[in-house]
Amino acid sequence: MEKQVGAYEKLKSIIHKNDFVGYVFAAPFIVGFLGFTVVPMLMSLYYSMTEYDLTSAPIWIGFRNYIQMFTGDVRFWNSIAVTFKYVLFAVPLKLVFALLVAFLLTRNNRIVSIYRAVYYLPSLVGGSVAVSLVWKQLFSRKGLINSVLLGIGLERINWLGSEVWSIVPLILITVWQFGSSMIIFAAGLKEIPGSYYEAAKIDGATTVKSFIYITLPCLSPIILFNLVMQTISGFMVFTQSFVITQGGPNDATNFIALYIYNQGFRYKNMGYASAMSWVLLMMIALVTLIIFKVSDHFVFYEASDN
């Protein structure tokens, strides 16, 4: 055997290994992940320690951005508080609606497949600017919601101008788009063996009891999944606030993502905005960790010995 043939043999043996196909298919994602996620994240970490206004070179200042954030910036803490408030209301409401509607739509009716599609539509439309503008109109002083309130006999509420109420339209847009969670719940509901329900009926359980003691435990891994996913995206809420209230009356709807955007792109404090983004990342990670720890107590996996 000569050396040249040896090289060709080597190449052939690599290609013919089963792993090779895996790497080929994974390559586009890995390239994208490195180029569009990892590298920008590292750059952002670098920028977070600089003072950078996008047009001149970044100036290294160490941890001053972080110190400023934690000691000198009241608006930052307000943003964190407002975002937490939003997540605390929007996520549970969204999941409750998703589960309820999924439950109703997995009864054995043929007509439900149409309803399933219809209830999924808002999710398809997405949290876009156009949707936000429509909701802004609904909640304006002379909009539909106020007209309904007047019709019932109540007083007009100044939704967009009130520090207390301005967060409500924003929460509702998110809750309205429960479709994707609903589909996942519906899939989970179909998985529950009908024999459980039959056994419960024989023992005399009511619908409510069977929901609490059969449906919920069997669904708990899916509830965990939806909870984690929705919480993470809940913390990143931006479009509604940007379009409808621009941070709201007196910062009442100044979500952290919006505040980061304003600091970075409008006030030209890109270094500070990067620092805030990293703090946000740590916070979301912490909350997710807590959810997982708590989940050990309520999640029931059919396959395990729980």
């Binding site: 196909v21 080929v24 001149s56 006030y267 030209k268």
Partner: protein, 462 residues
Amino acid sequence: MRRNWLLRTISLVTSIVMLGGCGGNQQAKPETTSSETVVATSQGAESTAAALGDALANGEAVTIRFAWWGSQNRHERTQKVCEMFMERYPNVTIIMEPYDFSGYFQKLSTLAGANDVWDVFQMGNGFAEFDNCIADLTPYIESSAIRTEDIEDAFIKVTQYNGKQSGISLGTNAFTIIYNADMFAEAGLGEPTDNWTWEEYQSYAEALKEVTGEFGSSRLENFYGATIVGVPQYERGLNYFKADNSGLEISDTKYLEPYMQMIKEMTASGAYPDPGAIAEIGLDPSQDFVVTGEAAMTWLGSNQFVALTETASKNGITNLKLATIPRQTADGPSGLAIRSSQCISMSTNCNNTEVAAALIDFIVNDEEANKILAGERGVPISSKIREMLESQLTDAEVQIYAYIDKIGKSEDGQYVNLNEPASFEAIKERFNLSMEKAISGEYTITEAAQDVLDFSSQQLGQ
């Protein structure tokens, strides 16, 4: 068997890559009318003779990017003008990028960070922010690539910054209160005089809210009203920002308090819209309460008068007029000056500077182009263009020209510093936030004013 899966892998990967390439180019390509021959009017021949550079003369293919912000009205006019330019120079392709106001500045910031700003682009007054990206146009003016014989020195100076010619103004304007004369008559009020005061404004607004049923006045530009326009009204020569942007000229809250107090009182009584109602207007003047009939006065730039009257007439509101901004005392300075409403600039990363200069010259000086643009961005700075447009001015435009004339003749203008520092946006936002806190009662007026002063000084590094 072995060759089978390899072949399948390769064909799958190839098809995925090809699908990825179908994403396509999202740029706004102009609709070239290349089927028509080059139309060179006698005016055109005269203007191109002066502006012809090598690239244009010997026909090598050139592409330049041109971006601007505005309403749909402006987009259509500007696109027509670009097409005219491309007809005249068939080897030039202009990639046109129209935007809305806030989308434009977001994009500009991003491009500035990437050193990839459009070749020719519209600018406001924020020269400090983008100084690094703006090319000095002085060489092109000196070589007559951009002709300035018909432009008064004052209008050239208005877009100079940091010792360089940062742009050529596309139109001058001045701040104005636009009011509904019919509603004033209905309320039994006399119309605003040239030197009316903030007290009169407040009392008019209280009376007018009975007529409209909602607000007396629509949104004002509060930051400008309190600082850029407001501070010079106390004393000729006094300004909020120092001319070199190194700090503030004032340090006493007494210059800001009366204005903030007035807004707070008017919001409480319902004569001025609360923050929720203001959020409904957004950035588009066509949603203003004067247009919907819910208010009788509003603050805009004089060049926005055209769009406002057109939209208002669709709602049956026809008798809108221009008034000066109210002042502190009837015999005090007005605080108003002529400003460039927007200008056209060239970026430092432009590779085809001659073609870019020719485009700038075309837009500023060419008569055919300006018949289409018709001063929609503001009163044109070239006296030749102004004369040409005089014959086709609408009533609204006649009012604007007269108003600009009036402000331009006033002596107060030369003492007003219009420079906006790099942190202008941040300071303006902070002012509005403090204003909201004062309205809601969280701060007293003095605390709010002090907060603004402290923040401004800190931002300017004072």
